[in-house]
Symmetry: C2
Subunit: 336 residues, 2 copies
């Protein structure tokens, strides 16, 4: 079905308030879930609401907890998220990181003991639209085998880079999980009776496969770039723990507070106006984007995008027809 932005947000907010979240926090969280849906990122938007409510009901997310700055040393702050809502905790950290960047040029907000931030790109976009550049990531519980192993021991640790865009509005961002495909993508592909476009893991006998069902069964999802994504995921895990005085995959798995319950998020935010004049910056980004797009498309008729441009087609569709929501998902939320 199709709903308006306001209708979707109001329904999500209603459900969050009903499950114990204060009005102001529920408003912010509902706004972010709705924005992700509008951008076409259903997995961390409307399709995630039911699971988040389940976490509230289990006590894995404390809707009333507030983040607290535990260490404040110059351009670094360690913030304890106290297992509060991941979205409001992450926005708090992003605001603090920007304030440090205003003062020192660069600042790092290191959030520990927090919960799932939903779409990582939300926070990259948030600071980039205010004129900042950012490197951010979260660590997660283990969901992927290290390279050379059968058993899951690494998180997919989504990683974000962002900066202001070519125009006032546009921005560049990423929300890059360390696994080649998300489990959600495996499921969607399997249900459609299709194969993955490229091999995405190993079957239970250790054969490389593009069959999504075989990977769901083995849980042997492949790191992006094979050994490269494996090493990168490990570094994001340990730097996530160390820089926030928090924990990594080994303890997140033991805690069993759901996906990302107790995780750490690092936000390094930089004021690029200290290094490059604004017009020159936009021109540099414009020329870089123009340059990649000047390449001849491949035989598959590939279209060449700058990061973050993918949501434009969803905006056009959603503006015209309303935001698409799966009927079953909508019925589930209505019933909560």
């Amino acid at each position: 079905m199709r709903v308006s932005f306001e209708e979707l947000k109001a329904e999500i907010k209603r459900v969050f308030v009903k499950n114990g979240m204060p009005e102001d926090k529920a408003d912010i969280c509902a706004q972010i879930h709705t924005e992700s849906t509008y951008d076409g990122i259903y997995s961390h938007g409307v399709n995630r609401v039911t699971r988040f409510v389940d976490y509230l009901q289990k006590g894995w997310v404390d809707p009333n907890a507030e983040p607290v700055v535990e260490k404040d040393c110059g351009a670094i702050q360690v913030i304890n998220g106290n297992l509060g809502p991941g979205i409001t905790n992450a926005l708090f950290a992003a605001d603090h990181a920007m304030a440090m960047a205003d003062k020192y040029g660069i600042g790092m907000a290191a959030l520990k003991n927090t919960t799932h931030w939903m779409r990582g790109g939300t926070y990259g976009k948030y600071v980039a639209q205010k004129g900042y550049a950012a490197i951010m990531w979260t660590n997660t519980e283990a969901c992927m085998p290290p390279w050379g192993a059968k058993e899951t021991r690494l998180g997919n640790n989504p990683y974000v880079m962002a900066c202001p865009g070519q125009t006032e509005d546009s921005i560049c961002l990423m929300d890059m999980a360390m696994s080649q495909y998300a489990y959600g993508k495996l499921q969607v592909t399997r249900l459609a009776g299709k194969k993955l476009p490229f091999p995405g893991g190993f079957d239970k006998d250790g054969n490389v496969t593009d069959d999504p069902g075989a990977i769901e069964e083995s849980m042997r999802i492949m790191p992006m770039g094979y050994w490269k994504g494996s090493a990168f995921a490990f570094m994001l895990d340990i730097l996530g723990s160390i820089l926030s005085d928090g924990v990594g995959a080994v303890d997140l798995n033991a805690a069993t507070k759901g996906s990302c319950g107790g995780c750490s998020q690092i936000m390094i935010v930089i004021d690029p106006s200290r290094t490059m004049e604004a017009d020159k910056m936009r021109e540099t980004i414009r020329r870089a984007a123009e340059y990649i797009k000047s390449a001849e498309p491949d035989e598959r008729g590939g279209s060449i995008h700058a990061p973050g441009e993918g949501s434009e087609r969803f905006h056009a569709e959603h503006d015209k027809l309303g935001i698409f929501v799966d009927d079953n998902v909508w019925a589930e939320i209505k019933a909560l």
Copy 2:
């Protein structure tokens, strides 16, 4: 053939001094090239000496140029490398980034108009051994097609993350190019008459291939993780330019000063003792490494490593037998 560390370093230093490099700089550069060789990274060690000398002779690297801090704003410095030797410029930037981290907890040294830093991991290791954590990268000229394109428009932009290790000595680091394989790996594999372990690019007709010669011919090397490495490489290119007031692939290609001539390098260095107590940090890293190694190895008898552990086998061999140097490479250097 086999040579001692001192013999190799002395020969490389002789060649650098003969080609106009001051004694002190030549000593440092020779040391770094020799260390990379000792670690088994030949491509950026002894095997790179001839090309570096060629760049000196062409004037693409100015052996007498000194780096200059152009902007100094709190925890950020923009440094002009003045096309001096990439190694000494990068060490200068790393020293400045550590000094900023001492003062503010985090610091960013952004080096522009510099030259090839050889192995990026050198600088990660350099700061990690002194107790710092780091995120670093370089941008490069275009050598890889963006996802969906035939023509090279993206650099491979090697990316480094580092932190102190489990013991006093050991460290964690990466030197991750955005292409799945380096051109050097394609050449070595082709000369050995072998196929790549996983597909590494497209042939001239656009078919995915594991034939190294077909990729060398088409120049359609694949980004790691397909669309993911393509987007990541783009972000590293533009953030590299913006944060250093420097240039990216489009201008590096136009400058034609060889590989990385005029490139930018970003070094974000953090003092983790501000965020986590030293013993707890080492224990956190030890447990994370132990956790990944506790996974059952795969059917190929995969061995599971923490990043940076790969050089241990080279150290054992080189300590016992001397450092291996290809006979032809040694003859070339001797003749310079």
